[in-house]
Symmetry: C2
Subunit: 549 residues, 2 copies
């Protein structure tokens, strides 16, 4: 039965690994929510499934939980009120014990058996794409299409990528060897590291959560999923699907459990310090990421913290294309992406363009026009901007708006569908090279424009920023070969994913499974990449028995 | 030129990776010191090269060093008096700066270019096999043949294994991809993590030092080699060869540097805390290994600490072969191996054998006879036992000899060639299940025999030991299928490299490059394996640039 499952999914896993090696965009899961792709019924059924969760206890059991908690505060303003089993610090003993009891049969299963079951989970989640998309939309504030793509299809592609690389790493050596000369038979097996913890984030609960969850799981580790209290539902649906799939194939469902806390419970910290927890996947603030690295010493911590991403303008052959691309990058999901550009370095003397020399003021004027146009078209605006995820981000926008040199103000947009949603276009602040404000992390529709002495000076500032604070992405516009060589040097020492001359609809914020590495581990923004060997290898060990005859 | 070098060594690296996947013993380097293999001249020249070092300044430059230090105290009792540049804490700034200056050209070289140069180093070291073997013999006390094999050929095989797996991991994804549809060209390159530190041990300076050294180097990281002050020469020769090879191919020699301290300088600790140090490979005591893990937080620490290795006797079809194999395992290099069996669990009611039921007393009597016979044949004894490496180990033997239930005393043997060498056969102490003495780490010719309630009880004790203290190896004798299944379960949860029914000349202490994993990371004895992906993947990051056209 298990081997049938592996045979069913084997080519997908092998093709995924080939795609990872080839580094071209590749996808197994349907990323368009169109009825032309799905038919009429699936969207309706997905919406109904989502609505069935509202105001009701979520159908999942959590060992150690007592009572219920309804921690979500939808940025779309709808009433969600899904009640989840409430896990507090008092229940952790029971949860960890349950995961420990579930572990042995999963640990003893072969990588093939586990990969077969995990692929069933991914396909099961793909079948719930609409359900997931609504859950992501209403917990994160993303526009529906983005929630469908990033929250379901692309998250599943990243999961498959992680599973394929982990599977490859586990099976790279033969499982047995026979040394006829020395009369030694050797058997090898990858063995799991231990209990894994996934700490979810509020903006991309599935996209950032899936790779670690499924990589740990396929390597034989039980996983506790601790969602951000404001973005539980997407991961609750995920855990439910995982548990049902495990049961269907004869494995204990407690291999994947859901740990939901109320705001302020500090459950992640309590879980992370348990000696049984040997793997932690975390996405979120730098401060808690550092805390985990400093304190969860018994675990390998994969932390995607955040950084400050730079844009370097040196010259362009397509000024309009550049500005339009920049405007979209700054606006996409209200700048609430760890990959959003945050600081624009523009040489004081301006840049050469196809429209002649353009200075910072020209660029800002063009960006302002783009944001104004966006604000004037609420339907388009909310598709791109989504909604502000929480009050913390809204306060950050207000803080930026109160800075001395606001050159483009944030504008409020009324959401045509969700009147209580907060929608704001980006604020841009002009800042000095010496200022501290653009060197610290901001989250939301906030950017800084910094005039520099020269394009070379921009490179220097960028390198300093990436090295000290960290960056996940950089965007560079230049038609100058020797400048681009300089840029490439910095990209190669800092490991910042660098986009050159992005115009049109491909945005620096977006990375593609199998083609793009997300994070590199080479600067403080993250300590691993989605997905490299470093992301999967620590999730298992090599065990060997050798027998003489 | 560099590409020629890669083409020269390419098939070796590729064949090495195939061998690693196939998991059969494989070797590139000559492990016999026989003149039939080497001719008449090489042994003589190697000896002369070794002797030329004696009583002279060693020909290596170390940035930041001032004056000289002669810290070695040969266990063979010869006068070594090699003077090395003395690095103290005051010189670390200069050393680190020199490594940093050397870094860029090496970081920018391709994996192929670096692998070509590293393979030249390995072949250069192989040509110095006799020189290395004498250096290992006189700094560690190993017998010459063992020093030749473990210190040169097998160490180089382990190095090649690490290089091949690291090279494969770095080049597993294509270096470029062209997405015609989206008009994006992507370029990828593995980028080094940072400055690496290798902290050498006193017993196997090359075997334990080479894998980390060359894995870090091939991934583009500069390496500082900090030998144990009593076993400098083998690593000094290594660093010299690395530096000469780097210079020959146009790279700065300071990519590999030698940091020699005097006893008690605590240089390793001072180096390990430098923020520039991002990789540490360490072999040695558990206490300093834990200190590194707890304090060198900026670095990835690969620590092979030590543990307590168990032997489980349940039954055997070859009693004499079992006892003879056990005696050799306990005696090999005077028990000064991290893989030496330390505690023998024997069921109180004895075990079934081809000679009828045999109890603990019978087994001890046979071991005693084997050690007595060994002591009576000093040539054979010193070939197997080598010499006691230092006073610390000698004191440990005396401590064990003073325990209440010594059942086999350690006997002194006069070394026929090196009269000042301390040579002692193993002491065996009978101990209770409840006693603490066999649960702690000992180093040297010291073993404990523990009667257990039953063979099942032995398994329970073994699992507890491996989980709490850690074990690198275990040796099990049984003809009972269901018992062996139990053993296999424990091996698979603890990751202890387990040998079943080893008789004859294959010893549990010995692991073979490409076939055996040394360490697993799954228990406290070590946190990585020689060599798995986990050992190489953290030494580099993935960097990417993407360009639209």
């Amino acid at each position: 039965m298990d081997d049938e499952l592996w045979e069913k999914h084997r080519s997908t896993v092998e093709n995924a690994f080939d795609a990872w090696q080839n580094r071209l965009p590749w996808s197994v899961f349907r990323s368009s929510p169109s009825t032309r792709v799905w038919g009429e019924e699936a969207p309706r059924a997905g919406k109904a499934a989502f609505e069935a969760y509202l105001g009701a206890p979520f159908p999942v059991q959590t060992p150690g939980a007592h009572g219920f908690v309804t921690p979500e505060r939808p940025p779309t303003g709808i009433t969600l009120d899904v009640a989840y089993p409430h896990l507090t610090a008092d229940g952790i003993d029971e949860l960890v014990a349950a995961a420990g009891r579930a572990w042995p049969t999963w640990a003893q299963a072969t990588p093939q058996q586990r990969a077969g079951v995990v692929l069933e989970m991914l396909h099961g989640l793909a079948a719930r794409s609409f359900e997931l998309a609504y859950a992501v939309q209403h917990t994160t504030g993303q526009g529906f299409v983005m929630a469908f793509q990033a929250g379901a299809a692309h998250a599943l592609d990243r999961a498959l990528e992680a599973v394929a690389v982990a599977y490859h790493a586990m099976t790279a050596t033969h499982a047995e060897s026979v040394d006829e000369r020395a009369r030694i038979r050797r058997r090898y097996r990858p063995i799991p590291r231990g209990l894994a913890l996934v700490i979810g984030c509020t903006t991309f609960p599935t996209w950032n959560g899936f790779p670690g969850l499924f990589a740990s799981l396929v390597c034989g580790n039980p996983v506790i999923v601790k969602p951000h209290p404001h973005a539980v539902l997407p991961l609750a649906i995920t855990v439910r699907e995982c548990r049902e799939t495990l049961s269907r194939y004869g494995f204990p469902p407690d291999l994947v459990t859901l740990a939901v806390e109320a705001d302020g419970d500090r459950l992640a910290a309590a879980l992370a310090l348990r000696p049984e927890i040997r793997l932690i996947d975390y996405t979120g603030s730098t401060s808690f990421g550092r805390w985990l690295e400093d304190n969860a010493r018994q675990a390998v911590v994969f932390a995607e913290k955040s950084g400050v991403n730079a844009v370097l303008l040196e010259s362009t052959a397509d000024f309009d294309g550049m500005v339009s691309n920049l405007a979209s990058s700054l606006a996409l999901y209200s700048g609430q992406m760890c990959t959003t550009p945050r600081v624009l370095f523009v040489p004081r003397e301006g840049i050469e363009t196809d429209q002649g020399r353009r200075g910072l003021d020209d660029i800002l004027a063009s960006l302002d026009a783009a944001f104004r146009e966006l604000a004037d078209d609420p339907r388009r605006a909310v598709a791109l901007l989504g909604a502000i995820v929480d009050e913390r981000v809204e306060r950050a926008v207000d803080t930026a708006m109160a800075l001395p040199n606001v050159v483009i103000p944030s504008r409020r947009v009324s959401h045509p569908e969700f009147p209580r949603a907060v929608v704001r276009t980006p604020v841009v602040v002009r800042s000095d090279v010496e200022a501290a404000e653009w060197r610290r992390e901001w989250f939301g529709p906030i950017a800084f424009a910094v005039p520099t002495e020269s394009a070379d000076d921009s490179v220097r500032l960028w390198e300093e920023l990436a090295t000290s604070v960290g960056s996940l992405t950089a965007s560079v516009y230049s038609t100058n070969k020797s400048f681009l060589d300089q840029v490439e040097q910095v990209a190669a020492t800092t490991g910042v994913l660098t986009a050159l001359n992005f115009t049109g609809d491909v945005l620096v914020n977006q990375t593609v499974a199998f083609a793009d590495f997300h994070g590199s581990g080479a600067n403080p923004a993250a300590n691993a990449a989605l997905v490299d060997f470093g992301f999967v290898a620590p999730r298992f060990h090599a065990a060997e028995i050798r027998e003489r005859w």
